[in-house]
């Protein structure tokens, strides 16, 4: 398809666009070649700077009368450089284009010679890093989407929503922001769309206090985000109007987008066995108590937990109901499960600093021989760096399909 200079098109996924000739501005970067894959539920504008031709496969390709990118988007990188801004926090409700905006600004900043990082905190719709993680990537070149940015650091949350995982989520924000401050000239934190209600307000306020941004960018339809930045000086706030009719992403499309990412992660996964002498469990009661070595029939592991926390028992898979009832009557304050309950739990494989080397799902825990098998894309070369298996709250099938939950506090 021939495209004339100054023409603007919007590609709506799932679509693949290959540049044959000409020069195009795509999400803040200029390109004369390359193939761009836009997934289902996402869209990308193409601005033609020099006439050329494109190959377009699938999806929708719509001609626009004018650019959908406001002029202020081009001004912000200049403001960042001029004011020596180091930390940018991007706020917005769901479907306000935060990731697209962050990519645009990062491309422009990178073009201006700044070492630019993006922290993706949207654990439910992770672009940088695995699902359920806070991912950090550096723009070593221009990218047409955050999902193409290589992961520099990753912090495992193990939950697709920060709700129910406030503490670990905020710990991750702090840890990754500190790392980003040390390794970039400027970083952009792309946040979740959870901005209202008790949970949304408290987590956003805490996040703002942790990051202490030099620039807070509000992508808002009206004034719905003002309550989040009331305490910040006006000089730090940039307000950008977004379309009231911004695209709505359904639950089902969201799940498809999530599973596209998780399936991509698990595509190259293989079973990796760790000795429980090498790795410790983390974020679980399991492995945190004192092991009792008595002769307990059908009990694979018996831990005395500290203080009032009681006991933890791992029962044999085929334990009889009567035997289980007798044990639980004798030790009433006991958390218990069978090894099969651990199967498919989403875990982080973390280094000694608590950053994720990779993610995976538990396939088997052999308590007698002290071994755990995890399905993971972890590189062989980094296996020795694994120090912790961080327990998550979700499960995945082997192919990356979502498979339910773990009851908090049950293991």
């Amino acid at each position: 398809m021939d495209i004339q200079k100054k023409e603007i098109y919007l590609g709506k996924g799932a679509i693949e666009i290959k540049i044959n000739s000409g020069r195009f501005e795509i999400i803040g970067g200029e390109y004369t070649e390359g193939t761009f894959k836009i997934p289902q539920g996402k869209q990308l504008p193409f601005i033609c700077l020099e006439s050329g031709s494109l190959d377009i496969t699938g999806g929708e390709w719509e001609k626009l009368e004018k650019s959908t990118i406001p002029a202020i988007w081009y001004e912000i990188p200049e403001m960042v450089k001029k004011n020596n801004v180091k930390k940018i926090l991007v706020y917005g409700e769901v479907d306000t284009g935060k990731s697209f905006f962050s990519t645009f600004i990062a491309n422009r900043l990178m073009d201006m010679g700044l070492k630019t990082g993006v922290i993706d905190t949207d654990t439910g719709q992770s672009d940088i890093g695995a699902p359920g993680t806070i991912g950090y990537g550096l723009f070593d070149k221009k990218y047409s989407s955050l999902s193409s940015v290589p992961v520099e650091k990753e912090y495992f949350i193990g939950n697709l929503s920060p709700g129910g995982s406030f503490a670990v989520f905020l710990a991750g924000i702090s840890k990754v922001a500190q790392y980003a401050s040390k390794t970039s000239d400027v970083f952009i934190m792309d946040t979740t769309g959870w901005v209202h209600g008790d949970g949304g307000r408290s987590i956003k306020r805490a996040k703002t206090d942790i990051v202490d941004p030099d620039m807070a960018i509000l992508l808002q339809r009206g004034t719905e985000l003002e309550h989040l930045v009331q305490h910040l000086p006006e000089s730090k706030i940039v307000r950008i109007k977004v379309s009231k009719s911004a695209s709505f992403t359904s639950q089902e499309v969201r799940r498809q987008l999530r599973e596209t990412i998780s399936k991509r992660y698990f595509k190259n996964a293989k079973e990796v066995e760790f000795s429980l002498d090498q790795v410790n469990f983390e974020r679980t009661y399991l492995g945190s108590g004192v092991i009792e070595h008595g002769d307990f029939l059908d009990v694979l592991r018996f831990e005395k937990l500290p203080a009032w926390e009681g006991n933890l028992m791992v029962f044999a898979e085929n334990i009889e109901q009567k035997q289980k009832a007798e044990l639980l009557a004798k030790y009433p304050n006991t958390r218990w499960f069978r090894p099969s309950y651990l199967k498919d739990i989403y875990v982080g494989i973390a280094d000694s600093n608590g950053f994720a080397l990779s993610v995976g799902t538990i396939q088997k825990v052999d308590f007698l021989n002290k071994k755990i098998t995890v399905l993971t894309p972890l590189a062989d070369s980094t296996k020795d760096k694994a120090a912790f298996i961080q327990m998550g709250l979700t499960r995945y099938e082997k192919d990356g399909t979502e498979a339910g939950f773990v009851v908090p506090g049950s293991i």
Partner: protein
């Protein structure tokens, strides 16, 4: 901060309003059992459980009464009758009670498919411990 950091309170608010709004204990227990079932199905999202809980009790018209389902029939004078219900030209029959249709104020049925309807992407098999 004066915010709740946990959505469990929404479930508690719902159970409080349940106890204030209805008197029939069997009906209340069935609603609570369904909330328990939702909690087992979505243990990490109490906010979603609360959202589903608010949709468990569904008002229906007399012509929508399903004879295979339990209904709570509330009369104009505030009496509550709960059980399998069928309709005749003049009456609503709840188990052994016959209630003239003109004395019926409200009819409720329990919707056990709230998660499937509101959050179908969170419907999974439950893993046993």
């Amino acid at each position: 901060m004066s915010f709740w950091e946990n959505d469990f309170v929404q479930m508690q608010d719902f159970t409080d309003s349940l106890l204030e709004s209805y008197e029939n204990q069997e009906f209340i227990i069935d609603v609570l059992k369904e909330i328990g079932s939702l909690r087992k199905r979505v243990p990490i999202n109490p906010g979603i459980v609360a959202m589903c809980a608010r949709n468990i009790i569904k008002a229906v018209k007399p012509e929508e009464v399903d004879k295979n389902a339990k209904h709570l029939v509330v009369t104009i004078d505030g009496n509550e009758y709960y059980g399998e219900t069928h309709i005749t030209p003049e009456m609503l029959v709840v188990e052994n009670y016959e209630i003239p249709q003109k004395e019926v104020s409200k009819i409720f049925v329990l919707n056990m498919k709230t998660l499937e309807e509101l959050w179908p992407t969170l419907v999974f098999d439950i893993r046993e411990r």
